[in-house]
Amino acid sequence: MTQKIVLTKSGFNAVTETDARNKIFDSSYETLKYFSSGEVTVARSGASASGTFTHNLGYIPFFIVYVDYSADDADFVQCPFYFADFTGYVFIAAWADSTKLYFEVEASVAPPSTLTYHFEYKIFRNDTGL
């Protein structure tokens, strides 16, 4: 029999429990493994702007990105983010390849003054296989 480590929630038997929702940990399953996190600031004075982060993993990792498009650096939304009204639109997104994350903002018009976007990224070591 294969050896493994299983921690269940209180009230569940680690030897017999089969529902993964009742487990704290099970060595049979992979977890998300942190690689890097940080912030990239993108300033937009025209209709579009972009930034990058170089991860150099050599493969495309599992990643998640949030963006704060306000001035207080406190109201983050998960990318991608769209907003549109009668004045126009803005689209904020992030992509990845085997070396970088790309953070981009595209809007229908340039802002009256420069806008700053704070992209917060989490990169995991998990290879997406893409």
Binding site: K23, T31, A93, A94, W95, A96, T128, G129
Partner: protein, 127 residues
């Protein structure tokens, strides 16, 4: 005192640390782990929309996440389009899940048939 299993980060004391972020593993906190993952390669988006599905085999609706690699080679998050195209009227995809399947719904956005690779993750948490 209740027994616990704790593995702390380097330089953190597993006996005295109280911040959950100081632990690699703590038996008092649920961990987010991956029940299944996979890649669907060279899927043809020949309709608008075109839906691909994977049966997850669970008795509940799980939390899922997915990525898509468009023909330009960049990998997108759900509801993003292909990077090297204008962002309006472009290709997009979304992820849906129910008690039986995970669905990947792709839109052509007026660009015609194209091919995508999809990576998906199914987690141990239910919706």
């Amino acid at each position: 005192m209740a027994q616990q299993i704790r593995v702390s980060k380097l330089t953190k004391d597993a006996l005295t640390a109280t911040d959950p972020n100081d632990f690699i593993l703590h038996s008092a906190y649920n961990s987010f782990f991956i029940l299944a993952s996979g890649v669907l390669t060279s899927q043809s988006v020949d309709a608008d929309p075109k839906t691909f599905s994977v049966a997850h085999g669970l008795s509940y609706t799980p939390l899922v996440f997915a990525f898509a690699k468009y023909p330009d080679g960049y990998v997108s998050l759900p509801w993003e389009g292909q990077r090297t195209s204008t962002m309006l009227y472009t290709r997009r995809f979304l992820v849906q899940v129910d008690g039986t399947n995970v669905y990947f719904v792709f839109y052509q956005g007026g660009t015609g048939t194209y091919s995508v690779d999809i990576a998906y993750y199914i987690f141990n948490s239910s919706l």
